[in-house]
Symmetry: C2
């Protein structure tokens, strides 16, 4: 997606160790017009998968997931990283390694909002190793629901997440693909 | 705002101790169409305040703030509760008591996205005691910026947040006001 690619070229920052800083428009400050355009594009690409719900992980997945869900007219659920007191005692919980935190984080969804037979579209900001998205897949499967598509704003294809998710045999769509971040550069795949 | 009030009547849950559970459409599962309508309404109410940026706190403020910012065509910044490695070493940080967590939480904003002279519109999900919003006000002031308006989806007027914020002398807009949650009821003020 050209608008997102241009924004990364202008405001993205390669911090080394595979960390792409996009805090100016996705991860701390959000450009809502750009996120709206990304949501519209995801909705177009996943129009035919028959999703009944969008699933993401707090925090940075929320903006693109909400915009996507708005275009698809579906509810969106964000997996929590800690269990609030409003959640029931029994929940779906999995752990996933966090790239930017250097430790395991919990991903928690209430059974109230993820039910048997649902068709789940997963949307997140990054597809890197796929570890967070695989956590969302496990939560979906624990609920007896089915993943029908996976979308990420930015894919770091050199981290292998797409291959790790290939066994699901569902469409995986990234709006921008980065093939290398060696030597301080940001090389796009397309 | 009638649509939000009706949704609270239908799906909101008074858990006691002043806790209103709205996990089905705001705090865990999000209704993006309703959040879009709320954002449109905030944009209408704050059209004249001359905001240059929208500020919220992760996590539950993100959806309504992003929708509001989209209508106002402004960037939105969400204060982080932990400092990611992409943030610079020196940041604005304040602590605020969390109603639902029963402890102090940190609110952190990078100076990259909150600058001197900015006119800040604060949007959050709840206005209760006002403690979180006062934290956002302190971050704004630390940056040499000015709060020009405060919007909340739901105000629990019996917790006194509006009075605590009155000294700012800025417009405070809530889309729904709740006057009492005694005896398991949810009594609306309007």
């Amino acid at each position: 997606m050209q608008a997102l690619k241009e924004r990364i070229m202008r405001d993205g920052n390669n911090l080394g160790h595979g960390i792409l800083k996009v805090d100016g428009f996705i991860n701390h400050q959000v450009d809502p017009v750009l996120m709206d355009a990304c949501g519209s594009e995801f909705a177009r690409r996943f129009a035919q998968v028959g999703a009944t719900r969008v699933l993401t992980a707090e925090i940075s997945g929320i903006a693109p997931a909400v915009m996507t869900a708005r275009y698809l007219n579906l509810p969106v659920v964000y997996a929590r990283k800690s269990k609030p007191i409003t959640m029931p005692d029994t929940v779906y919980l999995t752990v996933a390694p966090s790239h930017t935190k250097g430790r395991l984080v919990e991903l928690i969804v209430s059974p109230e909002y993820l039910g048997r037979g649902e068709r789940i579209l997963i949307i997140d900001d990054f597809l890197a190793s796929g570890a967070t998205i695989q956590g969302l897949v496990r939560l979906t499967q624990a609920a007896g629901a089915e993943v029908v598509g996976i979308g990420a704003l930015i894919e770091k294809i050199f981290e292998g997440g797409r291959q790790a998710l290939a066994y699901l045999n569902v469409p995986i769509e990234s709006l921008v693909c980065i093939s290398s971040m060696d030597d301080g550069k940001i090389i796009f795949a397309d």
